[in-house]
């Protein structure tokens, strides 16, 4: 008879051939396994009812930009927005914007998609929301701009071969009208004011246009308020609560309307 407790323990709980219980437990955890075997550090996400969409660097559209550019690929953003719209667990969308512009088609596509979402969406412009970042910024229901963030408003330029005929200018005007139209429809800025900022001289050293900083963007009616993450989350949560109330019929201070 063997009274040694250590031997008793090991004989009652056989760890398997050459594998200790600790090793087995570790292997059962897929996240730890990924770190050990593959060096991948995907941390399990806590469930959240807010989807955070970050749009940074260049908005990449029809052409893959050279690798020195940090890009946001619109072909990934579009299905993300579709998924966020149809996923019942997602109740609101927070858009964080720090972009230097990019493809007009892709930028307007993203802006139109955000504007047509039925769920509450709040945007924050951090750092910069330049050029095509303008329409994306105003596409949310309510947009904040950081005190130090800037937005450059300037005319569209044509790239590539340009034919020197009047139609070229008319085409450029039409392209610009798309941007101006979208911004004026989705913000408080007037068309005349936006065009005035866009065609201003003496502000930018390499271009015509204007850079508006924080408070100025609010003053012109382009952005709704100066604020940061806390303000944006508070506003988004408030909109989510209001939407829940409307959906469940509680439109009068928590009293169900029959």
């Amino acid at each position: 008879m063997n009274d040694n407790p250590y031997v008793k323990l090991t004989s009652e709980q056989p760890p398997g051939p050459g594998v200790s219980p600790m090793e087995e437990a570790r292997r059962a955890n897929a996240a730890v396994e990924a770190v050990v075997q593959l060096g991948q550090t995907a941390v399990p996400q806590a469930e959240s009812n807010v989807f955070c969409l970050t749009i940074i660097g260049q908005v990449e559209g029809h052409m893959i930009l050279p690798p020195q550019n940090k890009t946001t690929k619109y072909e990934h953003i579009i299905p993300q927005l579709v998924a966020a719209e149809q996923n019942p667990k997602i109740e609101g969308i927070l858009i964080i914007l720090n972009t230097v512009g990019g493809d007009v088609e892709a930028g307007l596509a993203i802006a139109e998609m955000i504007a047509s979402l039925s769920k509450p969406k709040v945007g924050i412009v951090l750092g910069g929301g330049h050029s095509i970042g303008g329409p994306i910024a105003v596409s949310a229901d309510y947009t904040y701009i950081a005190e130090t963030a800037t937005m450059t408003i300037h005319p569209i330029r044509l790239n590539g071969l340009i034919i020197g005929v009047p139609q070229t200018f008319e085409y450029l005007e039409k392209m610009q009208e798309r941007v101006v139209g979208f911004v004026t429809r989705h913000s408080r800025i007037t068309e005349d004011k936006f065009k005035e900022l866009m065609n201003k001289t003496g502000e930018l050293n390499r271009d015509i246009g204007t850079t508006v900083i924080g408070e100025d963007a609010v003053k012109h009616g382009l952005i709704d308020a100066v604020g940061g993450l806390g303000d944006a989350m508070r506003h988004l949560n408030q909109m989510i609560m209001e939407r829940r109330g409307v959906q469940s019929g509680n439109v009068l201070g928590g009293v169900r309307v029959q």
């Binding site: 990934h76 512009g101 330049h130």
Partner: protein, 90 residues
């Protein structure tokens, strides 16, 4: 294509003549993605070609993320460049 950006175009388009790739198209667990190999069995996701909608919300499947393939991959289609690739080819 019209680029509307505050950055100088010579900086944005620097190196545009160099073709990206070669890419590898992989199908892993129902997700077809285009990957740029960076080491044997490791690749950087260029974009998802087709995936269930919820995969677009997972940060680990976003472009630029590193993914391990190799033994897990079901189907690998090697292509020279993105421009030569046609998903409709049999």
């Amino acid at each position: 294509m019209t680029l509307y950006t505050a950055m100088p175009l010579e900086l944005v388009l620097d190196g545009a003549g160099q073709e990206p790739g070669p890419f590898v198209d992989l199908s892993i667990g129902g997700v077809t993605m285009r990957v740029l190999p960076i080491a044997p069995g490791l690749g950087r996701i260029e974009r998802l070609l087709s995936a269930p909608l919820d995969y677009y919300l997972k940060p680990e499947y976003s472009p630029g993320q590193t993914i391990a393939y190799g033994e897990r991959s079901i189907q690998a289609d090697y292509t020279q460049t993105a421009s030569e690739y046609s998903p409709y080819e049999v």
